[in-house]
Symmetry: C2
């Protein structure tokens, strides 16, 4: 199974493409999509859309895992993040790809075992899970890989839940 994690943002949009193998997990690709801060927001969203389209065409993931935008943080930044997340979710879903959102706390809990883990702990766990020698950089790419790994951790439970709700008589 191939999962593309997306840490949405208008200035920096992280992505991490992870494969579940019989022996564990493997990061196939990771990086950051950026847009020119000197351009108007609509143009930047269109540029991000074009880059995401290329990425989805090239990689063809089974699932896209996107960070759920929360509005407790800086409202100005949150708006750009929400707009970028909207573009990413629409592009993936319109291709028939399953799109799942995870909150930052769900990611921390899935990767580190507790929702209050700090960023450095998440990065070290990502490094350990991928069996790489130094922390994955840039940080946005590591965050996106963490989202993909979070989905792989949740996926068996999601599948069982889906079977329970679609099997006739189940849960009755």
């Amino acid at each position: 199974m191939f999962v593309l994690g997306i840490d949405p943002g208008l200035s920096r949009c992280g992505y991490g493409y992870v494969e579940r193998t019989p022996g564990g997990v493997r990061a196939v690709a990771a990086g950051v999509l950026t847009t020119d801060a000197d351009l108007a927001v609509p143009r930047r969203l269109a540029d991000l859309q074009a880059e995401l389209r290329s990425l989805l065409d090239e990689l063809g993931p089974d699932v896209v895992a996107v960070e759920r935008v929360l509005f407790s943080a800086n409202a100005r930044t949150a708006m750009g993040v929400a707009q970028a997340a909207g573009v990413a979710m629409a592009e993936a879903s319109s291709r028939g790809i399953d799109v799942v959102e995870y909150s930052p706390n769900e990611v921390k809990h899935a990767i580190c075992g507790f929702g209050s883990a700090d960023k450095a702990q998440v990065e070290r766990m990502v490094q350990t899970l991928l069996r790489i020698e130094s922390p994955l950089r840039p940080v946005d790419a590591a965050d996106a890989v963490a989202l993909a790994l979070c989905h792989l951790a949740h996926e068996p439970l999601r599948r069982r839940a889906a079977i329970a709700t679609t099997t006739p008589g189940a849960g009755a």
Copy 2:
């Protein structure tokens, strides 16, 4: 000049297509795009994207005027509005259409002459400007027409500002 106003929303996305004629303004089309609230957000964004694509292909506006999302209101609703706005702006801008954002206060000021006008006053002014016998319904469509009319009010000034910044020696 043809302007498409878009009042973004995930549940209800208003649109209003307005033409400036020698004698004034004319609403060519107006309505609301809706998505199924029972579906997941990514699916709804993809459905909205498909409807917006059809609308842009069919109408071919010169300019798209989108309501600027503010986060002072309900944060849950604001997230869906920002995601829908992101999809709309990316779709229009990727077609090379000029996209302009206006805040609710800018719309009220342009239509009614003061930024503290209430919704009923804006609707009555839209009705007067379009010379129609009853208020335009649904309200989301009337709000989108108001956005398009706001752009037409701002447009001469925007054009003069663009000339001033691109003419050699101007403003020196």
